[in-house]
């Protein structure tokens, strides 16, 4: 039972991060291979305040998220307006730089041996609630003017600008929202697992989130949620698979890309409109 609780808790925490990645990648089309660095910043900052300075949890968490967003702003400023490939490379470099910093500053962070001593403050109900709230916030964002503008600029930046959309600003907003969520996920993680070390936050983790986000659908929040559940929980439950977890993911995702490139659910969402569309006949281009 304990095992299942821990698996579900882990899933909830990953869900928060993937919701953040969804905003950045599925909605806005930017691929960051360094988002995990913000998870680290969230975890370590809150850790420093709680464990080393003795601050209470909630203010520490809030500060940790603020710190992440500020760093995100600094990193984002030169980055978000670059072409897509450059964004990935720069965020990759940032992630590596952050990992190096965390390793080097061992007087503050414990270096490669990690930072432990987090009190176990987060339980499954808390993690699940935070995850649910995060997903709901992202859902609202998607339906809002920002969500639309993100999708617009992802598809055609030039036309978006021509419609008056301040692309630079919208990209930054999406990026910072994503950073906030990912950082929150890191805080949750730290106070459940009670131990973090720099190796957890490399580009592979960031890549894993991108894969999970797209596995579910090219632009489906429902799909991303589903895929986190499936891809996290399933290999854990089928324990013999957990060594092969990454191989399993990768093969499944490659299959999907080859045979259903829009991801499992494409752009379908679990909304009243979405459910209705399952029953409606395919709309014809009627002869007028």
């Amino acid at each position: 039972m304990q095992f299942y609780i821990s698996v579900i808790t882990q899933t909830m925490i990953t869900l928060i991060a993937v919701a953040g990645v969804y905003v950045l990648s599925n909605l806005t089309g930017m691929f960051s291979l360094g988002q995990a660095a913000f998870m680290a910043i969230g975890a370590y900052t809150s850790g420093i305040f709680v464990v080393k300075l003795g601050w209470p949890f909630i203010p520490s968490a809030i500060i940790a998220i603020l710190v992440s967003v500020v760093i995100g702003f600094i990193v984002g400023l030169p980055t978000v307006n670059l072409r897509r490939d450059y964004i990935s490379l720069v965020t990759l470099g940032f992630g590596e730089a952050m990992a190096a910093l965390l390793n080097q500053m061992s007087w503050l962070t414990g270096g490669a041996s990690g930072f432990s001593g987090f009190p176990k403050l987060i339980t499954l109900p808390i993690a699940a609630s935070v995850a649910a709230v995060s997903v709901i916030l992202v859902a609202f964002f998607k339906k809002s003017k920002y969500g639309r503008q993100c999708i617009a600029l992802k598809g055609d930046e030039l036309a978006a600008k021509a419609m008056g959309i301040n692309v630079a600003r919208v990209k930054m907003i999406a990026f910072l929202f994503s950073v906030g969520l990912v950082s929150l996920s890191g805080i949750m993680y730290a106070f459940v697992i009670t131990y973090v070390d720099p190796s957890l936050f490399g580009w592979r983790k960031s890549a894993e989130w991108v894969i999970m986000a797209f596995f579910g659908g090219v632009n489906s929040l429902t799909g991303s949620v589903l895929s986190v559940v499936v891809l996290t929980a399933l290999p854990e439950v089928l324990r013999f698979l957990s060594d092969y977890r990454m191989v399993f993911y990768a093969i499944v995702v490659l299959l999907i890309i080859n045979f259903k490139p829009d991801g499992l659910l494409g752009t379908w969402e679990l909304t009243p409109k979405g459910v209705k569309s399952l029953f409606k006949e395919k709309e014809d281009t009627k002869c007028s």
């Binding site: 980055t79 450059y86 470099g93 490399g202 894969i211 990768a250 890309i257 490139p261």
Partner: protein, 291 residues
């Protein structure tokens, strides 16, 4: 001492150049950053390693093994991850997701086979160091520098002067027109991947020699190649080479002065500054979009 650092930097830069060109080739021809390149390098290096343990062969045969492994793995990778989306002319981000997934797959397979440990790369050279005049240089570095330079020259020759190279350039420029001109576009793309795999396999072996140890984390080295590509200007082969050499020099100098721990931080800062000042890289060009 300075010359020592210079030579080492050049040697490292040469290897990064191999990585960066492998990367740039794919970028030119398919317009995306192939994030599986690192995984490819790791896999082909380990193939070479296990073969060398099993057979005790010396450097050249192992190099050839890794090169072949690289080519084969790249060919397989293209088939599994990129062929369909190329034929369907999918949007750019599909390639991205696909290449990350493929890279993850490569690394995952390697991790399963070798576990978290590290392996000591065989010492291929009887003399660990060579004297050139007053300067000492590691044999490994010297060999890396020489072979890399030769390979890069061959590569440039192939691209500029041969029919295959022309095909590569044509497809990079305009896929549809190349097709209409009778070029077998898909075959050309496969060739690009194989060459990229060859370069990757070679680079991997050299990184193994340079670092003496081999872990599944080798793929992280490839970030250097990526960064070199960015500095050089994504898509430009010459730019990639120059960027890589600069990066190698910079990194070697940094390691000498501040230790290897902080160097990723400085490299990242350099990259950011570079992008701010010259977003198209050293040799890239600003392409204005036509409305």
């Amino acid at each position: 001492m300075a010359i020592q650092i210079l030579l080492n930097g050049l040697a490292v830069g040469a290897v990064y150049a191999l990585i960066a060109t492998g990367f740039a080739l794919i970028f030119n021809i398919l317009k995306f950053s192939n994030f599986s390149h690192g995984g490819l390098m790791t896999s082909s290096v380990f193939v070479g390693y296990f073969v060398s343990v099993a057979t005790g062969w010396s450097l050249i045969p192992i190099l050839i093994t890794s090169i072949l492994a690289g080519g084969v793995i790249a060919f397989f990778g293209e088939l599994v991850a990129f062929r369909r989306i190329t034929i369907q002319k999918s949007a750019n981000f599909y390639y991205f997701v696909s290449s990350i997934t493929l890279g993850t797959l490569y690394e995952a397979i390697v991790t399963i086979i070798i576990g978290p440990g590290f392996y000591v790369y065989p010492m291929f050279f009887k003399k660990p160091a060579i004297w050139i005049g007053n300067f000492v240089i590691q044999t490994g570095s010297m060999v890396m520098l020489c072979i890399s330079t030769v390979v890069l020259i061959i590569l440039v020759y192939v691209i500029e002067k041969t029919k295959t190279g022309r095909g590569l350039r044509a497809v990079s420029f305009d896929r549809d027109t190349a097709y209409l001109m009778g070029i077998d576009v898909y075959r050309t793309i496969r060739i690009a991947f194989v060459i990229s795999g060859v370069l990757g396999g070679l680079a991997g072996v050299f990184l193994g020699i340079y670092n003496f140890t081999l872990t599944a984390q080798l793929g992280t080295m490839v970030t250097k190649g990526f960064i070199a590509s960015v500095i050089g200007g994504l898509g430009s082969i010459t730019g990639a080479v120059i960027g890589a050499i600069l990066l190698g020099l910079l990194e070697t100098v940094l390691i000498y002065f501040i230790g290897s721990g902080y160097s990723p931080v400085v490299v990242f800062l350099v990259m950011i500054v570079f992008l701010f000042l010259r977003p198209q890289g050293i040799a890239g060009s600003n392409v204005q979009e036509k409305a």
